[in-house]
Amino acid sequence: MSFWQALAIGLIGYMSSIYSPWLYGGLAGWYTTGRPFIAGMLIGLILGDIRTGILMGAAVQALYIGLVTPGGAMPADVNFAAYIGIPLAMAAGLPSSEAVALSVPLSFFGVAMVYLVVTVNSLFVHWQDRLIEQGRLKTAINVPVYGQITNFIVRFFPIFLIDYFGAPYISQISGLVPDMVRTMLVTFGSILPAVGFGLLLSFIIKEDFELLYFLIGFLLVAVLKISIVPVLLVGVFLAYLDVKYRRAEVSATMVSGQEEAEQIEKKKPLLTSRDVRKAYFSWMFWNLSVQNMERMQAPAIVRMLGTVMDKLYDSVEEKKALLARHTPFFNTEPNIGAIVPGVVLGMEEERAKGADVSDELIINTRTALMGPLAGIGDSLLPGTYIPILLSIGLGLSKDGSIAGPLFYIVVFLGTMIPLTMWLFNMGYKFGIGAVETILSSGLKDLISSAAAIVGGTVIGGISATYVAANLGWQFKSGDMTISLQNILDGIFPSLVPLLLTLLAYYLIGKKHASIGRAFFIFFVIAVVGVLIRFFV
């Protein structure tokens, strides 16, 4: 790997990490280029072999597809797994199953960095408090920008240095690995995606009978060998039938509620639509930039209000008070939850106009809303929408095609950017009532019911593609050799991958095993399986 290649991967890896603001906050960063699948394409582009990059990215992605990371409780971090694991494996010419095995310890190393950042960043929060007190407001609202330095240090340098200096060692070490151990690693890497799919199933499926949809998807691909697009369509049809015949109708309250709210729309706003857009962008880009254990996203709310404070108040004292009252703890899912800073902005504008809005009401509303929106946002976005889109993408790219990553980027950003804008504006215009109106439309429940069916079917399909096992047992009688693999292929192709995925679902969904424990159990299965020559 050349110096420039490592440098480019280090920079993109940093910009794609969870707390980096530069790519539309988390939307185009952490949730797009931060996904190992998309990272694989970019790394492949830099290293001059896109196809291999995508295949490796897809293999690592399969493993982490169900990883939802709510509120600082993070079990594994995909950033190093992708931006260190994939380049090293590619530079050393390893197969993708070894890239998967390599990514596991790196993901735990990444978690350590997350905790380091959120701990150190508390310093910036206290600095922002002092700046507001001293009236140095311009500096105060730039704290999320300065605070980005810790994230840069813990992401850019490890990725750049390990990729640049580590590559030669990986091929040397890889050369020293005995064949038996290599088989174990390859087996581990091949069966490990079952854990990713099992984890995802446990989030998406609400009742056990919904496993049927998973089985339908699995059989379509394993037995009929059809591609992911028809599988997706089957899922959509099933979801349509289910919604049409089994669930209550979605009420039309949303539309009527909106009309009602329209009447209370403010007469003479202090903020132009340009100001509101500025505030939206400020929120979207900087929401996690100085993420810290103590106040979480509070400095980003302060920054957002700072961008419009001159429009709201003339006196420095009032601007100081505005920023100071938003320094307490704030945390939500920043994208679906964008409605909350929208509500805050609307309330602050009302207050500035002299309406009867107490400081306490603003803070209480903010604090009350952040939790429910975090819950809805985490379960719908990283818990449902993103993994389903990624699953479809993985299905499109099983031969390394660029169609999968492009599909994900276009569909995800094409829907999320307008949606976050709409949510923010709804919150700004209609206040807390907007949240109630949107929720009471039943849209959320409709989406999550439909997602269980579409998601289950698609996950079935890609489990059949991405979980693999080569069986070794053979029976000899005279000249005839009967292999277990051939027998099973005749009866039920991919039976072992199916059972492994269901085992992972059982461990995580039913026995509540942590992802680390599930990895370990699958590691033991790989080691023992190879030792008894069940797997080869």
Partner: protein, 166 residues
């Protein structure tokens, strides 16, 4: 056991609760006991609507909660009792002998005059006092955000918070 978990969490419903806790304990019903929310119909309705399909959330003020808690102790639905602070827990554990003798503290945000208990939980003096009383009642108090994390027992960290300076 029909009350599966009594949890204190000053954000009440959020990502950890929806994505993890409800799954871990296969919760079908949530009793949210908080006076402020009970007084605010808009917020109560937002909380009710924010839980996934198949989970029923009910909001009660503490002094109106007795029957619902007793009912949930005696029926078979897996119930999560969710509170904003340990003082409410103390009242509940005093009133209801049928509750499981365990009390989970999740994230408690850093507020004015709080002391750090764990990386994610900061406590006020009266909250610490309530926890100590709970512990003296024979309730096992432990800190944990989600089931994948290690539990931290109150007994282990209380020396940092009780007595000493102040």
């Amino acid at each position: 056991m029909s009350v599966s978990l009594v949890r204190c969490d000053d954000r009440l419903i959020h990502g950890q609760v929806i994505v993890r806790v409800l799954k871990t304990y296969a919760i079908n019903r949530i009793l949210l006991i908080d006076d402020e929310t009970a007084k605010n119909p808009t917020m109560a309705s937002i909380y009710k609507l924010s839980v996934p399909p198949g989970v029923r959330l009910e909001v009660f003020a503490l002094d109106k909660s007795y029957d619902a808690v007793e009912e949930s102790i005696n029926d078979k639905t897996n119930t999560l009792i969710l509170l904003k602070n340990p003082q409410i827990a103390l009242e509940l554990f005093k009133q209801h002998s049928g509750l499981p003798k365990e009390f989970n503290i999740g994230p408690m945000s850093n507020r004015k005059d709080t002391k750090k208990a764990t990386m994610y939980a900061y406590l006020l003096a009266n909250e610490i006092e309530a926890i100590e009383s709970l512990s003296n009642l024979g309730i096992r108090v432990y800190f944990r955000q989600v089931s994948e994390q290690e539990e931290i027992d109150w007994a282990k960290i209380k020396s940092n918070l009780v007595g000493g300076k102040k």
